[in-house]
Structures are given as C-alpha cells and as structure tokens.
C-alpha cells in the first residue's frame, strides 16, 4: 500500500501510469485520489503563466488537474475512475486531438418519466423514494460511481448506519422497482424547454457502448444537485497543496487518502471544522485553524484557532511549504510550517440546471450565495441546491420536493415518509462572506486557476470601465475554461463587486449554459457517424455504376455517378470523351434522382398556373412544358418540366436537391392560402427509374428498343411524351433535352430500372455519362442549374428567361415583385457566358470579376462572379457562366478575374455558347 493511504484502508490494487511513471492505486480511486495517495502534488503547469498546479477539488468542479487519457484530451483527474492500465498525462491547458477514428460505440436513449430526480444525495434519494411510493414513473440520475452525494465525503450516519451504506441500499431498493430507472455515473448536463433534459451516462470501456446520451422528457423535475465549496482569493492561492477543505475531507473519508501531513485550515464558516476533525482523525496534523470571524463558533478539538485572521502568503515554489497568517485588521504576520492549506469560503448551491431551465436566481445574504427564486418550468429544487445545508434538513426537504413533484404529476401521496435518524448537529454559527483577502498586490490572488486569471486582471477590467460581469468574463476569460467557472464564476462577480463597491446581489452571475460537464462530440454524435450520419439515397441502377467504377457526386442525399473513367483516364479525359460521345453519337445517363411530384385533382391546372411563372393550364394532354417557380419576392426557387397526364393530372419534375422543398412549398400554399383548391400532391420520385438517352444517335437506339413506338419527328415531336414498351418494359418516354441534343428520357418502374439500363447498354453503341458531363453539356447550352447559377437573388429575367414569365396570367407567385423598381434595375446581375483569352485557362467557380486590367486600391467593386466553369470539347476552349452586373449589355467586353495577383482576361458572351438556334435537339 502506498504512503499516503490511511492505515488499514482495504481495496483491490490497480496499476496505472501517469506522465510515464508506474503507480498503484486501489479500486474505487479516482486518478486524483490515486495521485495524492502516491504523493504526486503537481499535475501540470498552468496554461498561461506556467505555474505548477495540483489538485484543488475532488469532483467536477476541479479547475486545475486536467489530464489526457489515450486519445481523450482535457479530462479532469478528479472524475477519471482509476482502472488497470490507465495511462494518463498531465495537461497544461489544451489537450491533443488525435486524427485516429474513435472506435468505441456511443448510443442514445429517449426516455419519458413522471418525475426525474437529478442527484442521489440525501435530498435526491428522499425525493425519489417518496415519488416512487406514489406509483409515479421515476428516473433518478446521479453522476458519481457510488450514491450518496456528500455522504461518502462526510462519513455522516443516516438511520444509524454509514451514510454511504444507507445511500447504496436506498438506491438499490429503488433500482429493484419496476417503474423506477436508476442511472448511475450519469451527468445531467442540459435543461431545455418543456422539461427536456439531456444526460450522459458513462458505461465504461468494456460496456456495449462506452457512453450513452439520455434525452429525457419529464413531467416534473427535482433538482437535488448539492453545493460547491467556495474558494477564497488570496496571495498564492494556486500553489499545489492548496485545496478546498471539503475536498480534502472527501479524499480522507471516501478514498482513505491523506492529501498532506500538516495542514492549516483557512475558513469563514463552520463546515471546515468538521473537515479538520475528520482529517485529524485520519492522521493529518492540523497546525491551526485560521477563522476570519472574530469569535470561533466551536472548539477546535485541541487545535489552535486564530480568530479574526486571514492567510496573507503561501510559501513554497513547487507546493505549499508554509502559510503566513495575519490579523484581518493588519498587524504582524506569522509563518506556520505546513504542506497543506485547506480553504473554505462557505458553500454555494449548484443552481446551474435550475438557471438553464429559465428559473430566476436571487442572492441570499444569509448564506452569501445565489439560490433559486422563481421557476419557469415544472421543477422543484431540494436540499443543498437551494441552500439547505444540514443532513436532516436535506432529507426532509427532498422528501417534500418528491411529494410535491409526484402530486403535480397527478399522483397521490399516501402515508408519510419517515425521515431516517441523523446525528444531532450543532446549530451553525453565522458565516462570514469573504471572497477576497485584501492586499497591496493582487498578481497571485487567483480567481480562475485554469485561465490563470487573477484579481489584478479583474481589476484591470473594472479599471477599464467594465461594469457587467458578462463583460468582465469575456475581457478576462475568467469562467470560460472546461469547468465553465464552477468555482471561479461567482468569485469573479464578488471581486468585481469589491472593486466597484457594489453588493454581490446587484451584480448577479454570468449566464449558466449547457453542458454542465464537458461531453465528447463522439458521444453526442452517437451512431450518427459515417454511413449513418445522413441517409444515403441510391437509384435502382446504383450497382451498375459501382461495378463500372464511377466515382459519385453527392447531390442532396443522393449518390449520383459523376463520370465513368476508362483505364488510364483521369476525370478531365473521361468527361471530354463522354461529352464527345453525346454530341457526336449517343450517351445515356441515370436521371432517376430528379424529383417527381404527382399533382392531381380538378383544380390541378389552376394550382400550377399559380405556382409556376408560366401558363400550365393550356398544356395539352400528351405534352410537356418547362416551368420556373419563384418565391413571392420574384427570385427563382426551382425549375423543371411539367407533363400533362390527363385533364386533372400532372407529373411535375424538380431539381434533384430541391424535391422535398418543392413538395413542401406546394403543400404550404394548398393548406394555408388556397384550401379551396381540390389538389393532391404526392412524391413519386422513388417510383420511377429514368434513363436519359441523348445525342444524334438516340432516335435510332430508341427505335431499336421500342419497336412499337413511332419515333420520327412528326409522330413524336419535341416536348411530348408517349406511353409504350421499351426493351419489353412498360415505359413512359418523354422527348425532352437537358443537353441540347436530340434526347429522350425513358421512365420505367424503379424495379425495372436496371433491366432498362442494361438493355440500353446492350446495344453496344451507347456511352454512359455522369453528372459532370451533364453539367458541361447543359452549360454549353446556357441552361442554368438552380442553386448553382442562381442563389436566391436571381429573377427569371436575370437568367435571360423573360419568355418563361407569363404576361397573361392575372397573378402567380412572384408576379407582383417583377413590377418592383429593384427587379428592373439595369445593373442587375445577368447570366452570361465567359470565354477566357487563354482557352486552356479554367476559371475557378466563385471567382469574382472586375472591370480593370490592374486592380485599383481597395475596396474594389466586383461586377459579379463565376457560377459554373468547365472545359468544352465542342468549343475547343474552357468557358464559364457568370452572374455579371448589366451583363447582357457587355457582350464582347473584356473583363478581368483577379487570381492570385494575376488579372485573367475574359470576354463576355451570350450564356448560350453552343447551337444557339437549337437545331440539334430537333434532330
């Protein structure tokens, strides 16, 4: 057994490493308690000042002792459970992220309950027990490995047995009940609207999932979160060996560890006397109790008590070796030899979750801290969390809160809860509320140990005129570290109050925000990683694309084949070859991802007239029309084709990425503005597989596959559709073109998609092409892609598509906006084509355009930007589409694209760069 462990302390040996050295601890240790047991006082240097820092607290409020364990950075040594083989390193501030994937599994659980109790200390256990008796469904969550809250720290008795034993038995009894869920090692870290609380459960390295996030909706909540001991700011209060008194008591009682040999206790209140008593009993020599109050409230059990004194200096560069104490009113100091300085500034209720819930706080001058005032949500606060600091009081308060919560949730409390017997406690004498020991120099009075913020820093902030604690927090960074200012937050407010001469209650606290404890991103992500991050949508032809080696482009959630490289081809070569095949012979593309909406009903034609900018009601059955939709502000929202299937039935296609948004858009107008229209919209995107057959050879290929179909131009003209059989499959063939070539889109039942595709490929003359080739071909023709060549500030007129805006319809969505002065400004950005002077120069998409060949002094006005840019085989040049201010009036002008110090010249052209007469699509 190690040197600082209490004699006779039992426990299974656990071997671990810290900073490359081997140590032994016992089962039940935290890394911090094991380090203290081994006499390790310094964990790491402080981040900004490089001062040695040790262990200051015993649980999540620890501001100092940060460690990295394997790939996981910034863990608190005080909360890391010791396990065999643990390998930790002290961290000076930030840790190191690894680029290796976390292979552990993380899960999430959604749960509902009548009463959620947060904390399994005396108050929480009493509340849960009472609530459970009523038949309410109860969840009780506690963040520690063993139940009892402060009971294992204080070694008080409950009902005649050790408090920890009572707590464990009470929690086990709850765990055995059918409607009660006990969550151990589970930190509730967020309290959101409508009693929605989120917790993280640490299940261990060998559990099925390492951690689980619990998302709990509770009818009522009981917060029994306890209290934190307050630090005091004095010179040298950051030395290793300075520790909260209650934490030292916890190391002795919970872990059998003596954090030092000889201690000075510095206190403003009675609680540190009990800590001194327990530590003395455990074997720590108490050199003196330094009490800021004029009269001690109780005897020191033979220890010297220095009343009306404060600590004014701490000796020892690497850790406490002596403590200088002085009378509060000045006067000569006295140096006392000690290796441990225990501090207690009183206790502050943990109001974090209550405050997150929207509850108001007030300052209680009696206990010198902020306490819950009025609640906004269905929540009770019990025990030390609302300033009840006696054990008997906490048990009673918890029982009452549990009863109130259960009743409010609709359950009846029958009988009374018998509060277990606790030892008599002397009534506490009034505490003094001292946050700061006045001094001449405040450069080592630390406020936030992790941020290395001192009282001098805070006074610099108030000296600069800052008055709000929120501003001081941001100016000094106090309270912004991993611990979110658990100990430093209110201390900062108090120091601001001291500097400004204002009472703490007037200053308030900074905002308490989730998460209460740090939570890993991997934990929050849970199973939503990799392939499960977002649904992946694939077409019925997907396997073929994979087999033919196509890389995929993500379009929304869809995987679309990008191009089909042959042996030795890079993307550029493959795309140029595919483009050539379509322009010269025939190619085929999987167009199944296009959004398809079936619009039916007696008023379907009227509805589409209102939704589209152009007229749809005049469309004949059997015909197809291209259409554009705008928002009421007149900006293009989506485009696609409309097929009239019957008088009362249309099939609308949308862009791939916008299908859901268009359906939502239609539903919104139907439900909220035009409920009188009898129209029904159904998404049928996944019902169909669509193969686009494009190129001068497409007619022959189709004729071969569909012998029953008259394919000549007169029988099957452009923008019409036919139901027929293709490759023996029931098919709807639409003669439309997105490439400018003679083209057909063959639609079959999605189940038949692969058979159709294989039949098309089986002809041996068709080249498969992907989305990149589709983009090049459509851009050569100046067909915009909504969302790429438009950005929500572009009207149909800006795109050169005046013809798609009806002049006849009395109204449609967006019409009124086309009469606004803004939409007819001559300097609006128009879609134009760009030809670089150097035909090999590919412009980056997003590049800006300027007027002059040399850049003037900034700010340089931009004329617009490149929206699409490709290499073109048929043009023998690169080319681009761009939105350019007054672009249609700039035909033939030379503009410049600033690229890395160079002004690249480009000539403005029409956005239709290929076959402007449209002769080719009519084959």
């Amino acid at each position: 057994m190690t040197s600082r462990r209490m004699t006779g302390w039992q426990g299974e040996t656990v071997r671990f490493r810290f900073d490359g050295r081997d140590y032994e601890g016992v089962r039940g240790d935290t890394l911090a308690s094991a380090l203290l047991a081994n006499g390790v006082r310094t964990v790491a240097a402080s981040p900004a000042l490089g001062r040695p820092r040790g262990i200051y607290a015993a649980w999540t409020e620890e501001p100092n002792a940060l460690v990295q364990v394997a790939a996981e950075p910034m863990l608190q040594a005080t909360t890391v459970e010791l396990r065999d083989g643990l390998d930790a390193h002290g961290l000076s501030g930030r840790g190191r992220l690894t680029d290796e994937t976390d292979t552990a599994r993380y899960d999430a659980v959604h749960a509902h309950c009548d009463v959620l109790v947060v904390g399994a200390g005396p108050a929480g256990l009493a509340a849960a027990t009472v609530a459970a008796e009523t038949g309410a469904r109860v969840i009780i969550a506690d963040d520690r490995p063993i139940a009892g809250g402060s009971l294992p720290d204080t070694a008080e008795t409950v009902g005649g047995v050790a408090g920890a034993e009572w707590a464990a038995a009470t929690l086990d009894a709850l765990d055995g009940r059918p409607d009660i869920r006990v969550l151990r090692r589970t930190s509730v870290f967020g309290y959101y609207d409508d009693n929605y609380l989120v917790a993280v459960e640490r299940r261990g390295e060998h559990a099925h999932s390492r951690e689980r996030v619990w998302r709990i909706r509770a009818r009522r909540v009981v917060l029994a979160t306890g209290a934190h001991e307050r630090p005091i700011a004095f010179a040298g209060n950051d030395r290793p060996g300075v520790m909260l008194a209650g934490s030292a008591r916890a190391y002795a009682n919970r872990h059998g560890v003596l954090p030092g040999d000889r201690a000075v206790v510095f206190t403003t209140n009675d609680s540190a006397y009990a800590a001194a008593r327990d530590l003395a009993a455990a074997g720590v020599e108490i050199a003196a109790i330094v009490d800021t109050r004029a009269t001690p409230s109780r005897g020191g059990d033979g220890v010297e008590i220095l009343t009306g004194h404060v600590v004014t200096a701490v000796g020892g560069d690497d850790g406490v070796s002596s403590v200088t104490v002085s009378p509060s009113d000045g006067g000569a100091g006295r140096e006392i030899e000690a290796d441990l300085l225990l501090v207690s500034g009183g206790w502050s209720p943990l109001v974090h979750l209550f405050s997150q819930s929207g509850g108001d706080l007030r300052h209680d001058d009696g206990i010198g801290s902020f306490v819950p005032a009025s609640a906004r949500q269905a929540v009770e606060v019990a025990g030390a969390a609302r300033g009840v600091f006696t054990l008997a009081g906490c048990l009673e308060d918890g029982a009452a809160a549990g009863a109130r919560a259960a009743e409010a949730a609709g359950f009846r409390v029958e009988g009374t809860f018998e509060v277990p017997r606790t030892p008599d406690e002397d009534p506490a004498a009034p505490a003094e509320h001292l946050w700061l020991v006045p001094g001449a120099d405040y450069s080592t009075h630390f406020v936030d140990l992790q941020r290395d913020v001192t009282v001098a820093d805070v006074m610099r902030a108030t000296g600069a005129g800052l008055r709000s604690v929120e501003h001081v927090k941001r100016y000094t960074t106090a309270g912004t570290a991993h611990d979110q200012g658990k100990l430093s937050g209110v201390l900062t407010s108090a120091v601001v109050g001291h500097a400004l001469g204002l009472p703490l209650g007037d200053l308030g606290t900074t905002t308490f925000r989730a998460p209460y404890v740090p939570v890993g991103f991997a934990t929050l992500a849970g199973r939503h990683r990799g392939a499960l991050h977002d649904p992946v949508r694939t077409t019925s032809l997907h396997e073929w694309h994979v087999a033919y080696g196509a890389p995929f482009e993500n379009v929304g959630q869809w995987k679309r084949p990008w191009y089909y490289p042959r042996a030795g081809e890079d993307m550029e070569t493959a795309v140029l070859r595919e483009c050539g095949a379509v322009r010269e012979s025939v190619g085929a593309m999987d167009a199944s991802t296009l959004g398809k909406i079936d619009v039916q009903g007696p008023d379907a034609a009227e509805f589409l007239d209102r939704i589209y900018t152009n007229m749809m009601s005049t469309l004949k059955v059997g015909a197809i029309r291209y259409g554009v939709m705008c928002r009421p502000d007149g900006m293009v929202f989506d485009d696609g084709t409309v097929i009239r299937l019957a008088d009362d039935r249309f099939l609308v296609t949308t862009t791939t990425g916008n299908a859901a948004a268009v359906l939502d858009w239609m539903e919104e107008w139907l439900q909220t503005e035009w409920p009188g229209l009898r129209v029904y919209c159904t998404s049928v995107t996944e019902h169909w597989a669509t193969v686009a057959l494009a190129g001068p050879g497409s007619r022959d290929v189709l004729a071969g596959l569909a012998p029953g179909l008259a394919v000549d131009a007169a029988s099957f003209p452009f923008m019409t559709w036919r139901d027929t059989e293709v490759a023996g499959l029931a098919a709807r063939v639409c003669r439309i073109s997105f490439s400018g070539e003679l083209a057909y889109e063959i639609n079959v039942n999605a189940w038949d998609g692969l058979a159709l595709w294989e039949a098309v490929m089986g002809t041996g003359v068709v080249t498969p092409y992907g989305t990149e080739t589709m983009h090049v071909l459509r851009a050569e023709k100046g067909y915009p892609i909504v969302g790429q060549d438009t950005d929500g500030t572009v009207t149909p007129a800006d795109l050169g598509m005046d013809w798609v805006v009806s002049k006849k319809k009395p109204d449609f969505i967006g019409k009124r906006s086309f009469a606004r002065a803004d939409t007819s400004r001559p300097d609006r950005k128009h879609l134009v084509g760009l030809l670089p002077a150097d035909p090999g120069r590919l412009l980056p998409e997003g590049a800006h355009l300027v007027e002059t060949s040399t850049l003037p002094e900034p700010p340089v006005p931009t004329l617009g930007h490149v929206t699409s840019s490709y290499r073109s085989a048929v043009l023998g040049s690169t080319f681009a589409l761009a939105l350019v201010s007054g672009g249609r009036d700039r035909m033939g002008e030379v503009l410049y694209v600033p690229l890395g110090g160079e002004q690249v010249p480009v000539t403005v052209t029409s956005h239709i760069l290929y076959d402007p007469e449209g002769a080719r699509r009519d084959g």
Binding site: Y192, D193, D194, Y196, R215, R217, G358, R376, P632, D633, D664, E667, E668, Q671, T672, E673, P675, P810, D811, K815, R816, S817, A819, R820, A821
Partner: protein, 85 residues
C-alpha cells in the same frame, strides 16, 4: 427541445416540425393593387415581439399539416395549436 401541440397528432418534439414564421400574414387579395411599399411590407416585414406571438408550424415529420400556435417568446410556453384556415 420544445414540446409542440400538433392539433392532429398531439404533443411532439420540436425536431419533428418546421417553423413557418409569423401567422396571419395572408397573401394579399390583389397584389397588383398594392404600392411597392405595401408589397414590401407583405414580403419582408414581420413582428418580433417579446411575449405572445402567433406562429405557423408544419408537422413535417408527422402528419405534414400546417397549424398556428401562440408561443410566448420570453418563456417559450405554447398555447394549444389551432388548425390553419
């Protein structure tokens, strides 16, 4: 995570809904008759009160119906949802 009372499905998590902004901003009877300013007010101007606010919600991941609900923007308390139109 708000608990939003869908008039068709009952109380459901906020994540199932799509927010639709201020309620009772009707599409004008005759947009052509409006001045540019009146049209711009319809397009761009919305209230932003502290307190009771009538809003539109769409239960996108549920029944897909639109409804109105009054939410207190200071406390996030929601009064019962009502069916649109």
């Amino acid at each position: 995570m708000l608990l939003i009372p869908c008039p068709w499905c009952g109380p459901r998590d906020e994540a199932e809904f799509h927010y639709g902004g201020q309620a009772h901003v009707a599409y004008p009877e005759n947009p052509a008759a409006l001045s540019d300013e009146e049209w711009a007010r319809y397009l761009f101007f919305r209230d932003n009160p502290k307190g009771r606010f009538a809003e539109r919600w769409n239960h996108t991941a549920g029944c897909r119906r639109w409804f109105n609900a009054v939410r207190n923007t200071a406390t996030n308390e929601i009064e019962a949802g009502e069916v649109t139109a």
